[in-house]
Symmetry: C2
Subunit: 361 residues, 2 copies
């Protein structure tokens, strides 16, 4: 079950797993498409409706993907989806995922935490009630850790203090209401692993980039989205679009920040590896990570460990090999669709308003 | 402004500050009284309506307390209260505060996180919008830390790891949906201190006990509540009531757990000290603590530091001096009001249901 399977990471993952022979269902309320309408932005690449996407996938590959359209904050809907599909694994991408979006105004900050935290709570309760053996693969973020001045260990850290030692959750320093919502989720998930024996993998991934995966490449109607606006577009995407249309690259501050970037083909690999290697019941949540974060300091120490997925068999697509193939070529192809008014950042962490912003054209 | 000023800690604090010459307003939706009705429980001590309490306080002392009845999750209501009262300090007790309550069922788990996290977000936004200089004093809990095998430092811990050093938020290991909601709040508050320069004191207190304060003692209509039921009653309260009615003491497991307990007269002292010593703007959240937590292990290491409030002038009421005076005597006085059906614990962390429990009589 891919919760949020109509979104950027979710769609690529749904197709990848379906292609690998998994029986896949997508659960999504399509609200990501509504955000585009409300903010007056659009994917650079044209994206088809979820209904057409699924029909096209069937016609190209012969494989079916089930579709449950609804909101996971509605527990009655989620319950019916779980009872109907009986998932062995639930991959949870069904969250508001933009830090700038969460910093637009109070109602969007509250929406982000309400939607993400309550949605994840409902997924945990649904697993407990309907599908105890179901393995939860939850997308966290490296941004949960901030940029501490010590190495970022994978989920936990062993601390010796005043002559005693314990292994404790790695301290969190998130820096947006979005990132904080993921911290809250991670704590809630870890608790239900301990209290209920839920099996969960909290995948803290860096910034994901790229459009092309083997599956989305099969037909233009399977194409994934390419966000380049100031709210949902991430740095690499925006730099590529800016380069193509002759816009200056919008580096924040001195540009001295270090972040980890992840090819979307590695996101789908990571999820597949996580599904194939569920935590043993009752041993608590396992967190594995691939580098990245998002924070304020312009220059800082940054050293995050990422050995576990490599040990599990991850073969990474390095940025040097794939930037042109999977990103810049798309920017070139759809150059005429660029709306330059979307390029400059419009949300400020300091100036976040308390009143709901309305979009005037 | 005392948010949650009709509750146990809030009422004692409101009277104490009013008595000390502060201009006090209580903001409360009175939902704690509704929980009593819904669960079929009641305070051992008879408690008067908030309207009568405030009237009585005026007649006894000549001092006025303003009353704003409404829900802080309703931002429009909260905004009006802030604009009307213009607080210099906001003391925030306005949360669902029972761990067992949060573990009753899914809807109460979700209610607890929604109510506490969104309510606190709204308070932070209200301060930012209407009262930038207002100092937030927020009640956290020692239960945010769990029971790590190393000393619990006050809010932050300095970690040397692989030859590098940083001072980071102390790792959190909460063990109920209630305690987790406080962890979420602490993270959100710390973030707004950094991002907006909010001044906040996150008071992580242990289990509070006792009924009597100087002010509630002035008239029987000012009496504070005394919970002894399995949901809102804490251990000392329950033991006293059990001793009085000849009920066996209900020690959980081997009884080897260590917790810190705090006399309610010290809670009100701590809040007063916190108000008088606001954090300097822009220096980030300060956390000061008085010992206590709540967790699963029956025997464990427990060593929490609590020097800062003593440095600020706290004169603690030690348990050995005040148990009889402030707790057992009340249990004896109201012995006839004990409903023994309320005594045994009825909520299990393991057996938490997904369906809403209804109370049948």
């Amino acid at each position: 079950m891919i919760i949020g399977g109509d979104g950027y990471c979710g769609w690529a993952t749904a197709l990848h797993l379906s292609n690998k022979g998994y029986e896949v269902a997508i659960v999504d309320n399509l609200v990501r498409r509504l955000f585009d309408h409300q903010l007056g932005i659009d994917s650079l690449t044209p994206i088809s409706s979820i209904q057409n996407r699924v029909r096209r996938w069937k016609s190209v590959t012969g494989k079916s993907i089930q579709l449950f359209i609804g909101d996971i904050c509605d527990f009655e809907f989620l319950s019916e989806a779980f009872k109907s599909f009986e998932p062995d694994s639930a991959v949870h991408f069904g969250e508001q995922r933009s830090a700038p979006y969460s910093m637009i105004d109070r109602s969007r900050a509250v929406y982000t935490q309400h939607n993400n935290v309550i949605g994840t709570l409902n997924v945990l309760f649904a697993i407990k009630e309907f599908s105890q053996e179901c393995h939860l693969v939850k997308l966290g973020t490296m941004g949960e850790y901030g940029t501490p001045n010590i190495d970022i260990e994978e989920g936990y850290i062993t601390i010796t203090h005043n002559g005693r030692t314990d292994t404790l959750p790695y301290p969190k320093q998130a820096s947006s209401f979005y990132h904080l919502s993921k911290v809250h989720d991670s704590h809630n998930i870890a608790f239900t692993c301990k209290a209920w024996g839920i099996r969960a993998t909290d995948l803290n991934q860096g910034v994901v980039y790229g459009v092309r995966t083997d599956e989305t490449d099969m037909h233009e109607e399977l194409c994934n989205r390419f966000d380049y606006d100031g709210v949902f577009g991430t740095a690499l995407n925006r730099f590529c679009v800016q380069a193509v249309v002759g816009h200056p690259l919008t580096v924040y501050g001195k540009g001295g920040q270090t972040r980890g970037y992840l090819d979307i083909r590695d996101t789908v690999q990571c999820v597949e590896l996580a599904i194939a290697n569920p935590a043993k019941p009752g041993l608590g949540v396992q967190t594995i990570s691939v580098p990245n974060p998002r924070v304020e300091a312009e220059e800082h120490y940054y050293n995050a460990k990422h050995t576990k997925l490599v040990e599990l068999g991850l073969r990474p697509h390095l940025l040097s090999e794939s930037l042109l193939d999977s990103l810049l070529n798309f920017a070139i192809k759809f150059k005429d669709r660029v709306d330059t008014a979307q390029i400059m950042p419009t949300v400020s962490w300091k100036k976040i308003g308390v009143k709901t912003r309305t979009v005037s054209v």
